[in-house]
């Protein structure tokens, strides 16, 4: 038995292919949009994964360090290290700022980490080139997305750093690439002002008669020195001993150290539910509309494609073709169009996804869902077309 659908496709193959490709690009856009949404959520998740922490110790009554600013004293880690169930701790600072290389600048999240042996909390978990930070000052490990390369001299606020390592997929929840620098430099970068402000501050202090008293030599110098000092970090990252209940250690720290502590689940909740909530809902809304529009367009295309063949169908009916054959022809064509479109869309999305400035995560699960949705749409749309085809009067074949 010859395939009526195949014959028809062969007959108008140019039209069929172009329609399929057009449909594919539309499906590709929808899949990409889904990928953008997934990427956004994934950015927030990798931020938590990369920190390597089980608990985040932050300032009381803040949602720090990612969603709100938090400042705690930099010796807090010592007391946290003594809490039950704690395996390793390290202080960390986060600062989103412009990092300059020559004349250009890149928006990046500057992370201050303890430059100890790799594997301690806060340090990048893996590298794509170079090495970890080994000096306690003026070295940086940058994410590849920042565009920095090994050996580059980059400037964060007051100091210049040499890029010694490159990471991949180390981004902030907003998708900005991370730049890791030693903690002490990062504290300076975050809390110490620029040279002009320091100069202004010194002048103001000198002009203050109560701080610049003639009878007390050295008072002014001490006051100025104390203004330049900084003893704050944003958070203490805690890694727990295997098998420890995070909540019990967290409760202990909350109770005895008067600090806020978040577990991994709570941090996810903060990031997804608060930090990226609006922007992800925005993308999600757009994704829903795009999916509906794509589905409508798929349906309309299949419907109009069938209507365009209404005269041929009338002829088929006239020569006594069974309804079943006509139904299966329309259904096969619709499904064929859907498969062609989906394949094109998936290929297109995969090829253009890496060129997006932010991460686009194409999940296999989403692809399967997309495929099922496309097929369902095609079948539904072809039902409309089938209704129209079956209602056609064979007389139309010869009528005007």
């Amino acid at each position: 038995m010859i395939s009526l659908a195949g014959r028809d496709i062969l007959h108008g193959w140019g039209k069929f292919t172009l329609t399929g490709l057009g449909l594919g690009l539309l499906i590709g856009v929808t899949l990409t949009m889904g990928g953008v949404y997934r990427g956004m959520v994934d950015d927030a998740m990798v931020l938590l994964d990369n920190s390597g922490a089980d608990l985040w110790v932050v300032q009381q009554e803040t949602l720090g360090p990612y969603a709100e600013s938090s400042s705690i004293y930099d010796d807090t880690w010592r007391s946290v290290a003594g809490m039950p169930g704690v395996e390793a701790v390290s202080s960390v600072t986060y600062l989103t700022t412009q990092v300059r290389r020559g004349d250009e600048d890149v928006r990046a999240m500057v992370v201050g980490v303890d430059p100890g042996i790799p594997g301690s909390p806060g340090q990048p978990g893996y590298l794509a080139a170079g090495r970890h930070i080994t000096r306690s000052h003026y070295e940086a490990v940058a994410d590849a997305a920042s565009g920095f390369r090994l050996g580059d001299e980059i400037r964060v606020r007051r100091n210049t750093y040499t890029v010694v390592g490159i990471t991949r997929r180390m981004v902030s929840s907003g998708g900005d690439p991370m730049v890791f620098i030693p903690l002490k430099d990062a504290q300076e970068a975050q809390f110490l002002k620029d040279n002009d402000s320091i100069l202004q501050q010194r002048r103001r202090t000198e002009a203050n008669p109560s701080l610049n008293r003639p009878g007390i030599p050295g008072l002014l110098e001490s006051v100025i020195a104390s203004q330049g000092a900084n003893q704050f970090v944003n958070a203490v990252l805690v890694r727990l001993l295997p098998g420890t209940d995070p909540e019990s250690t967290a409760a202990h720290i909350r109770r005895w150290m008067r600090l806020e502590v978040y577990t991994r689940e709570q941090m996810e909740e903060i990031l997804l539910g608060k930090l990226i909530a609006t922007s992800s809902r925005q993308i999600g809304m757009f994704l829903v509309i795009l999916a509906i529009v794509s589905a409508a367009i798929v349906a309309f295309i299949i419907y109009t494609l069938t209507l365009g063949k209404i005269r041929e169908i009338a002829v088929l009916k006239l020569i006594g073709t069974k309804n079943r054959t006509i139904v299966s022809m329309i259904l096969q064509q619709a499904v064929g169009l859907g498969v062609l479109g989906f394949m094109t869309g998936k290929i297109a999305a995969t090829f253009w996804a890496p060129f997006f400035p932010k991460f686009v995560l194409l999940q296999a699960r989403d692809a399967v869902t997309g495929f099922v949705a496309v097929m369902v749409m095609c079948v539904l749309a072809s039902i409309l077309a089938i209704r129209a085809a079956l209602k056609v009067d064979p007389a139309d074949a010869i009528g005007g």
Binding site: I117, P118, A128, A129, R131, G165, P242, A364
Partner: protein
Amino acid sequence: MKRLWKTIFLLLGVFSLTGLFLYVMMRSGPLAPVPVTAAEVEKRSIAPALYGIGVVESGAVFRIGPTSPGRVKDVFVQVGDLVEAGQKIGVMDPVDLDQRTAAQRASISRLEAVVRAAGARTSETAAKKKYAEAQSKRYDNLLKSGAVSVDSAEAKRQERQVTASAWASSNADLQAARAELERVRADLDALLSQKKNLDLVAPAPGLVSSRAAEPGTTVVAGQAVAEVIDIRDLRISVRFDQAMASGLRAGLPAEIVLRSRNGQVFSGTILRVEPIADPVTEELLAKAVFDAIPEVVPPLGELAEVTVTLPGLPDLPVVPDAALKRWNGSLGVWVIENGSIAFRPVKTGRRDLEGRVQIREGLKPGERVVAYSVKALTSKSRVKIYDTLEGIRQ
């Protein structure tokens, strides 16, 4: 014929599309292999180095100022001047000290005259006393021979006693005048030393680093008018992160890079490690000295980077620090065997500044481990080994 070609083209199109689709499905997402690079475990010696930041300091900074409150009269040096030991660098306003000295000198002149007058009177009374003694003696003899009356001899004797008292009195006056002169002279000396104390003098040769008060300024006791640094004793006060300072000790060679000298390296030595560490910043403090003072003396307070190279360690298996990963709660490496990977926990030793880490336990030389990867690996990851990950998008 035309129909056949069309079919062939269509079939080709369908096949290539399907092929491309399968390729895409396999090369992206969870099924795709992770691009990695491999590194071989080497058995070698590494020389760990310590890296610290410090500031240029002088071993001796002389803050030169007055010992009592007063007004600065003059400062003779400018910042940057080289001074000798004992050189006068400034002077305090003496207020009334000069006038008091002049008064004291006048007193001395007056007292000298008084001493001279007292001396003359002593001579006079001495002469009178001598004459009276001679007269008294002669009259006593004459009285024995009966040539003079008792009355006359008595008168002469009395005269002798009066002149002796007068002489004693004038002698005492002379001594008092001399003592007074002595006192006033001592007072003058005191005033002169006080005047000298107003001179601000450099205690050692050095460089004037600051001129803190201008003429006319009132300063309190101990406040510096000028600062002089001893440039023969330049040193760098270095701070080493405590966690990364094992092996630091006096006598180790050090490389010193001054911030303003654009990478020029000076050789130096660790002079001492301070017995007290900084508990707030969690750093060890040490002093490094230049082997030879730079020709252009660096300004005090300039930032310097000090790298101390420790002696080489015995040969041990060594991997790049990028190979160390934390997985399932332990630190280890991903060992590559027959194209697949397996995690192996290791015990690490020291690390050098190039990022080479000693492996004390867990690896043998010649084994291959994952150095770099484009994402975190798990035990289910498939890997594909590249020479470099640069330019590989995933």
